[in-house]
């Protein structure tokens, strides 16, 4: 008896079937296209690294969540936990050969030994862009410009890039007389606002600072108004960089409506040193879909040379969830747009010539692999959601025509072979130049 292994996959990992993959590939393609439009090149690093490359870079929590094991040669290895640390390791090893400033994008899988939950997986994709080797604020504006370009390209119209600034927050905490050693705690408490609400934050802050300080702090972080109104009201603190950033964004074509100066935004402020970003999509409850900021020293754990940079990570899975909720992925079908049927052996060469003609024009076309009943071939087309089926028999070969069956309506048309490409380009709504 054969030994059959019950098929199963690890918790927190996923299989993606052809329909899901079509959507994922589409979204990934659009994101990649936009990154490249802005002049970013990509790199790839190994999925497994030496454990000590990865460990100790994300704090206690990160260490626990990193997949580590001994390989067959007894070496301690780890799966990459994010793309930033391997990137830093790569830059430290290769910077003399890299163009500087260096603009790179990276889209790959990362692994975390986290407890799986809704929207939380053990294996998932990250899409990062970073500009390193410059401290010019134009890099910050460009990151905002790319974010807007990506989400606009994906068809998402209503989203906000929340922005804040570490230097600005520092100047407030210092003005309020909060000792430096408590500042990180205060920022972490503010960061929990979305999760535990104002009351929860109040409770937590009470244990760190006194009542007056807290009220003064709340006056700042709960300030309302437009970006400009907030900047005017807070001008006694260090708002220069935010002001300059907003001006550069305008010059770079980032519409004001996408930017929201959010004084409550404290995510990652213990790591970031300048501007920070967090993107939310209006009316979609998936949390932050993209986030990042300016950091001062990317490679400090790997070399003495300093690289300041700014970058963001796009949450791929959350972006997919948001797009599905907005109905933006409904039209994504499998790859084949045209099925050429096999009617009889005599007309097979004609059918094949039609097939190659369309394939050369980059219209996704397949010919049915075997000679079977037309009914079976149409069933196949239905199952693959192929919108157009072509039938080319002897009669059509003699007339140099093709019968097109439109699967959606069942309508059938005979058109000249010479018009086929133009007809299908129109029917498939392919852009005409």
């Amino acid at each position: 008896m054969k030994n059959i292994n019950k098929p199963k996959i690890l918790k927190g990992t996923r299989d993606f079937g052809p329909k899901q993959m079509a959507k994922r590939q589409f979204v990934l393609g659009q994101i990649r296209y936009m990154f490249e439009t802005f002049g970013y090149d990509t790199i790839e690093t190994p999925a497994i690294e030496y454990a000590d490359t990865i460990l100790g870079k994300y704090g206690e929590e990160g260490n626990k969540l990193t997949y580590t094991f001994k390989d067959n040669g007894g070496r301690n290895v780890a799966l990459r936990y994010d793309q930033t640390v391997p990137f830093a390791r790569y830059v430290a090893m290769n910077y003399p050969d890299l163009p500087m400033p260096f603009k790179r994008y990276q889209i790959s899988r990362v692994w975390r030994a986290d407890k799986p939950a809704k929207g939380r997986y053990r294996e998932f994709y990250q899409c990062d862009i970073d500009i390193i080797g410059t401290t010019d604020l134009l890099a910050e504006a460009e990151i905002a410009r790319v974010i807007v370009a990506v989400y606009t390209k994906l068809g998402i119209k209503n989203f906000k890039i929340k922005i804040n600034n570490r230097r600005f927050m520092n100047s407030i905490l210092n003005r309020l007389g909060i000792p430096e050693e408590l500042q990180t705690q205060v920022l972490r408490a503010i960061d929990k606002l979305d999760k535990i609400g104002r009351e929860g934050v109040t409770k937590e802050l009470k244990t760190i600072v006194d009542g007056d300080t807290m009220r003064n702090l709340f006056d700042v972080i709960f300030i309302r108004g437009t970006n400009q109104e907030k900047l005017v009201a807070l001008s006694s603190d260090d708002t220069d960089e935010i002001q300059q950033f907003l001006e550069l964004c305008t010059l770079y074509g980032v519409e004001e409506k996408f930017l929201e100066f959010d004084t409550c935004l404290a995510r990652g402020l213990d790591y970031y040193t300048g501007m920070t970003y967090e993107v939310v999509i209006d009316g979609i409850d998936v949390g932050t879909v993209c986030g990042g900021g300016r950091y001062d020293n990317l490679c400090e754990q790997f070399c003495d040379k300093q690289f300041s940079g700014v970058g963001v990570a796009f949450g791929f899975d959350r972006t997919i969830i948001a797009m599905e909720e907005l109905g933006l992925l409904n039209d994504i079908s499998l790859n084949t747009k045209i099925l050429v049927t096999r009617l009889d052996d005599v007309s097979m060469p004609y059918s094949l010539s039609i097939t190659t003609m369309l394939q050369i024009k980059n219209i996704n076309t397949e010919i049915y692999p075997e000679s079977v009943s037309l009914k079976k071939q149409l069933k196949y087309a239905n199952k693959k959601n192929i919108p157009f089926v072509l039938m080319c028999g002897l009669q059509e070969q003699n007339d140099q025509t093709v019968i097109i069956k439109i699967m959606g309506s069942g309508k059938q048309k005979t058109i000249p072979r010479s018009q086929l490409v133009e007809y299908l380009n129109g029917a498939l709504k392919r852009e005409i130049l």
Partner: protein
Amino acid sequence: MKRIRIAIQKNGRLQEDSLSYLKKCGLKWNKMNNGEMIIPCTNKNIDLLFVRHGDIPEYVKWGSADLGIVGENSLYERKDTYVVRKRLGFGRCKLVIAVPNDSPILNITQLEHERIATSYPRTLTVFLKRKNIQASPISIHGSVEIAPSLGLADAICDITQSGNTLESNNLRSITTILTSEAVIISNDSADLSWLV
């Protein structure tokens, strides 16, 4: 002082009306010789540039002409944007979709998956997209009206002034996509503040 160039049709349906419009504006020029492309005005700092109809937007776009007189309909075929300075009231026409008299197609929703022959594929594509109709524009340059009788299309999308051409080719209009007239255009980046 810089001379202003106005591009107008070398020949075509708008030429006569364009010239009489410019005359009415007070421009004077010497009798034209055949084949001459640039005619200077004798009383103003203006040159008339005679070019092929389809080239007028091109000349304006590149700044070789400051202004141009064109049929509004031809602008919708182009990706570039122009500033319409003035509507001129002549050269009126309509862009329509028409089908053979004996066609079962009565309204635009029945155009689904049909072929529409046209010299205005871009305008037609935008129209179809807006109406959410999936039909195929078939690009033909000129003599669009005979495409259905040759079996090349199920409908046409073409310019009509009087409707006579449609009628004599046994076609009937089922919808008007747009109405058009002659307009004066400039490049949208052109600085014409000096032109008073």
